[in-house]
């Protein structure tokens, strides 16, 4: 009876999502790709070709920055996992009730604050006239002011800080769902802390580990603020290079090619991560 009406309702619900995905996601990326394969041969004159991509591979500064961004992001992801896992385990398994909620909310604090503010905080701490430098001088550990900013370690500290929440939250969720009796059963059957960690806890936490790693890697790869502000002008981060091409050099064609390469790398890592752990995007992302 009401099938016409319900079909109408269905299309009314379908319209906004299609509009959103097609106009704001699919078409822009198709457009980006088209621009990336066009070469400027004169004012308002273009022809199709892969010169922009060729330029990327022939110019060492470009691909080295790309590789450097990828490697640093992988390192930041690994570091976040190593630092975050014990915290997530502590919150999920060793605390109860009110303490648990409090600690969990405390992990969320950085999320409630703009990334800019967080990075600003690290600048105040790390710079030459900053808090840490002053404290070290006061303690007599160093003689003059020391610059802790504008190096790779500073970038790493900032990247881990910015993304650790996205590691801890999915880990707490998955570890929380691990029944204590499974760990007890492991002990009861003669397991040691190490073997139980390896055979029971980590396999159980794998979905959380994968989704945490994927999110952290993407956030690091696509980060712009932290490398620029903590790493300084020569931080050589790929997003910075995209910005330069688009806004400073106004070379949109090369910038688009860069953008596509970054997108390709990020998608590849997501794809491999999911393949590797045998999960689907829906279950991994739907969780976080």
């Amino acid at each position: 009876m009401g099938s016409d009406q319900s079909r109408l309702g269905f299309y009314l619900l379908l319209a906004p999502i299609l509009l959103w995905l097609i106009v704001l996601i699919i078409l822009p990326h198709v457009g980006l790709f088209l621009v990336s394969i066009s070469e400027k041969i004169g004012p308002r004159e273009y022809e199709t070709g892969f010169d922009n991509y060729a330029a990327f591979f022939s110019e060492p500064l470009y691909w080295r920055t790309f590789a450097r961004t990828a490697i640093m992001s992988i390192m930041a992801t690994a570091l976040t996992l190593i630092l975050g896992f014990p915290i997530a385990y502590y919150i999920a398994k060793l605390t109860r009730g009110r303490t648990k909620t409090t600690l969990f909310l405390m992990c969320m604090i950085p999320f409630w604050v703009s990334e800019l503010v967080r990075t600003f905080g690290w600048m105040i701490l790390l710079r030459e006239t900053g808090v840490i430098s002053n404290i070290l001088q006061y303690l007599g550990l160093v003689n003059g002011p020391i610059e802790l900013l504008y190096n790779d370690a500073a970038i790493m500290v900032g990247l881990v800080y910015t993304s650790i929440l996205f590691m801890v939250v999915p880990l707490v969720t998955t570890l929380d769902s691990l029944d204590d009796s499974l760990i007890e059963a492991g002990y009861d059957l003669g397991g040691t802390s190490t073997s139980i960690m390896r055979e029971i806890v980590i396999p159980h936490a794998m979905p959380g580990i994968v989704s945490g790693c994927i999110v952290v890697f993407m956030l690091s790869l696509g980060n712009y603020l932290t490398p620029i502000l903590l790493g300084g002008k020569d931080s050589l981060w790929f997003t910075g290079m995209i910005y330069t091409q688009f806004i400073t050099r106004f070379n949109w064609e090369l910038g688009s090619a860069f953008g596509f390469l970054l997108l390709g790398l990020s998608s590849l890592v997501v794809f491999l991560g999911l393949k590797f752990s045998g999960q689907s995007l829906s279950e991994t992302m739907g969780r976080s």
Binding site: D179, G186, G190, M206
Partner: protein, 369 residues
Amino acid sequence: MTESQPDLECRDLTKDFDAFRAVDHVSFDVPQGSFFSILGPSGCGKTTLLRMIAGFQSPTSGDLRIKGKSMIGVPPNKRPVSMVFQHLALFPTMNIGDNVGFGLRQRGVGKAEIKTRVEQVLERVGLPHVSERRVDQLSGGQKQRVAIARCMVLEPDVLLLDEPLGALDLKLREHMKIELKSLQHAFNTTFVYITHDQSEALVMSDNIAVMNKGWFEQIGSPHEIYHHPDTAFVAGFVGDANKIDAKVTEVNGAMLTLATETGSEMKVEAAGTGLSVGQPAQVFLRPEAIALGASDAAAESTANISHGTVETVFFNGANSTVTVKDGAGHLVKVAMPQTGDFATLRKGDAISTRWLPKQARCYAVSGDV
């Protein structure tokens, strides 16, 4: 029984949680190869006791020995006991074979040997060729058997079972009771089983300990527990019983005469209760110990007979009961005879009940019951 050393001995085992005493000076022995049940209502401390044996709680005081060796301070992974958890705790990230082989891997047994031993134990529990399956591909009863196999492959001195049948549906539970008992027989391992379900305990156990408020009220064979309960709690908790409050009016050797507040009198044969005239007491009378008779049945000098009317008839197949209201207004639950004699009983019918003094149990009323 006394010549060989018991597998498990507990001496004055006590556990305090802050101000609350969960287990209170519990002592018992479990001989090798026997099925020992700890039966009690939830919150009586039985889980705490079992977890102390497994090593997940440490006793406040007392000693716990397995095969003569004290287990105090020994971590759970170093104890020769295995535990079947309430929800089984099969590792969902491993297949059945890896689950069962877990303990052997921890001991550093070779891969090939693990494989054969896993297959052997799975065969013994009647589940050959399931090694490759995932945990969620098994039925509830199969999971039970895998959980037992996972423990038995380690050949523990004592197997602990924490109400593993609780999550099963009724039919399967009935079936698993028998199966568990026969598995215990086949492995000839000492089982310590905790439950709040009296029928599980009665069917499977060689010995039952009835636990209440951290105490062991009684330890004995199922027959003793059912027919000769030591305390009012045991009489009320195990099996069905009519509970009658009364006062002692006369003591004549083992024969007590009691009267309820409304004046009905009864005779109970109970030696060694220490009751004297005037003391309040509780009489427990099993529904199946009461015989029904026509309302005009002749009086016998020894039996307690009262006349009344049928209040309700609960038809439940072989377990049908009838509630009889006597002259003073007391309700008594009586088991319907299986012979079909009273199949036509209706509400309001006049009827008499009759029971012998030795069929009831009588206890002094203690302060807190």
